[in-house]
């Protein structure tokens, strides 16, 4: 390893700094990436002690620099150019002692986004610390929740271009070792250039299966992540992403919310049951409405049937066209709201939802009953705690509605059974997706009660 070979790795990139130093009667070289290191720390904790190294052969300088004369928290020897490059991009200063070796000192810049409150998974009660983009900050946040020495972090790097730092997290003695080894095997087998976006991580880790249902659970909440680890799951932290992933995932996990742990178990269990109801309504309400309105009118109670017929008298479209168009409009409205700044997004929702909706009803373009069915289904979709799961439900809602329009309740039932078959075939780290309900028990619907307090 020479000065030239190290410089060649980074070429003439603007932020690569190479510095020649005189030390102990020899010429040594220091390398760093501007912006990734704290200059003051590098000066005080690396260059200053280096300048005080006593004269002697290069090997003794190297040994002294590695063994503590340079008083730095971390001093790692670097065997080759690849290790040097890896250390530099992770905020280290590398000092090359020509002919003896190279030592990397950690002088990372403290500049990073501070820990803030969760923005998506809000709860009224409970901790307010959310993950940041820095994996080391995230590991420290988890340590603060789980101070057990059995907490393990296995570090690795993935992405040939992005060299993204990953940390597999588990609790020794609690997590099934097979789950850990399955995840580690998958990560080791990753053959990808980049691991930059959540989709990259999710598709690469789960093997990009053709399903809209999430096969790993993400959370921005450290307490939820810690709870996941305590329930025997494996965690994955990815540098650059302000969220942690939990595996395996099943339907039961996707329907739980951190809020469940912030209230008594009776209320939490009731709300969880309500959430399952919301899932069914979100999936099936528009489809059932179409099926009843187009095929099975006799199933609608007479006063309601009359009211629906009256509201539909002057609407020029069929029920199926009306509901499908409303579903599409609802999706567009949601999409527009996401891509706009928060304040504008709210205005779009109000204008789109209330103003356009009521104007369309008044103009007899849509019937109020169809609008209520679609809106209720959309609101129920928002009640689902996992956004990925909610999006999958949105997709299936369309499918069921089309089946309802073609084949009534028969089509909706066939579609629902097909979805259940699809879900039953899914696995996450070889754990079945419907595992909590496989034995027919409904205990997963309720939040488990904490140990009874002695009276």
């Amino acid at each position: 390893m020479t000065h030239e070979s190290i410089c060649a790795v980074f070429g003439d990139t603007g932020d690569f700094i190479s510095r020649k130093l005189r030390c102990g009667g020899h010429t040594i070289y220091a390398y760093m990436i501007d912006g990734l290191i704290a200059s003051v720390t590098a000066s005080d904790m690396v260059f200053k002690p280096l300048s005080k190294l006593p004269e002697g052969p290069m090997q003794s300088l190297y040994d002294a620099a590695l063994d503590g004369t340079v008083y730095n928290n971390v001093a790692d020897p670097c065997a080759d150019e690849q290790t040097v490059a890896s250390k530099l991009v992770n905020g280290f200063v590398v000092v090359l002692f020509p002919g003896a070796g190279a030592v990397a000192y950690e002088v990372k810049t403290p500049e990073k986004r501070s820990v803030s409150a969760p923005t998506v998974e809000n709860t009224i009660k409970g901790p307010k610390d959310a993950f940041t983009e820095t994996v080391r900050t995230n590991t420290s946040l988890i340590r603060r929740h789980l101070r057990t020495p059995a907490l393990r972090f296995a570090q690795s790097v993935a992405g040939t271009r992005t060299l993204t730092n990953l940390a597999v997290v588990w609790i020794e003695g609690l997590t099934d070792p097979q789950l850990v080894s399955r995840l580690q095997k998958r990560l080791a087998a990753l053959d990808t250039q980049s691991l930059l976006t959540p989709a990259d991580v999710e598709e690469q880790v789960t093997g990009s299966r053709a399903t809209p249902f999430p096969l790993l659970q993400y959370t921005e909440r450290t307490d939820k992540f810690a709870q996941g680890l305590l329930s025997g799951r494996v965690g994955l932290l990815v540098d650059g992403l302000p969220q942690g992933y939990l595996l395996p995932v099943d339907l039961g996990y996707l329907m739980t919310s951190p809020e469940d742990e912030g209230m008594d178990y009776v209320s939490a269990s009731m709300i969880r049951i309500l959430r399952y109801g919301a899932l069914l309504l979100s999936l099936l309400l528009p489809a059932v409405y179409i099926a009843l309105a187009a095929f099975h009118q006799q199933m609608i109670p007479l006063p309601l049937l009359r009211s629906i017929i009256e509201s539909k008298q002057s609407v020029p479209f069929s029920t199926a066209a009306e509901v499908l168009a409303l579903l599409l409009a609802f999706e567009l409205l949601q999409e527009a709201g996401i891509h706009l700044p928060q304040s504008v997004g709210q205005s779009v929702s109000i204008i789109g939802g209330i103003v356009v909706g009521s104007a369309a009803v008044e103009a007899s373009l849509i019937s109020p009953s169809a609008l209520i069915a679609v809106s209720l289904s959309g609101i129920c979709g928002f009640a689902l705690p996992n956004r990925d799961f909610s999006q999958a439900a949105r997709l299936f809602r369309f499918g069921f509605s089309i089946l309802g329009a073609f084949a009534g309740l028969f089509g909706v039932t066939a579609g629902f059974i097909a979805m259940l078959i699809h879900l039953a075939g899914l696995t996450s780290l070889e754990v079945p997706y419907l595992a909590p309900f496989s034995d027919g028990s409904t205990s997963q619907l309720l939040r488990h009660r904490a140990g009874r307090e002695e009276q």
Partner: protein, 138 residues
């Protein structure tokens, strides 16, 4: 194997859908009926509904078809809650196919004002259903 399985499943589904026994009819075209009145006049069976539709014929099927043809909308008898019967009307198996088994049956010799009768019967519900009637006659 999977390559041909999916198209085959889609084809099977389409074939199945096309053979469904119930055709779709949009709800907005329906004219739901709450009360049906059947009576005999000049040797013919007459049918009247609370929606104001009327038909006649030699038997129930003929009378119903006549009523459906003369109606502006699509008469929907499956919502009928009350069947008001002239005791002279012969009860045939057609009745049980036309109306719901839970349809309440009320006998009268006088011609009723059907909307008012439906309102009255929904408060003073007759106990006899079409299913009871069927059990008695069979």
């Amino acid at each position: 194997m999977k390559k041909w399985l999916y198209p085959a499943a889609v084809l099977a589904a389409i074939a199945l859908l096309s053979r469904l026994p119930h055709p779709s009819r949009d709800i907005s075209r329906l004219e739901p009926v709450q009360a049906v009145y059947l009576y005999m006049e000049a040797g013919e069976l007459h049918i009247e509904t609370d929606t104001g539709d009327h038909g006649s014929g030699h038997d129930l099927t003929e009378a119903t078809d006549d009523m459906k043809e003369s109606s502006d909308g699509e008469i929907f008898l499956e919502t009928a809650e009350f069947l008001i019967l002239d005791p002279q009307v012969p009860i045939t198996p057609d009745f049980y196919e036309l109306l719901r088994p839970d349809c309440r049956v009320f006998f009268t010799t006088e011609k009723p004002d059907l909307p008012a009768a439906a309102k009255y019967l929904s408060i003073h519900t007759p106990k006899t259903t079409l299913a009871h009637l069927r059990a008695q006659t069979s």
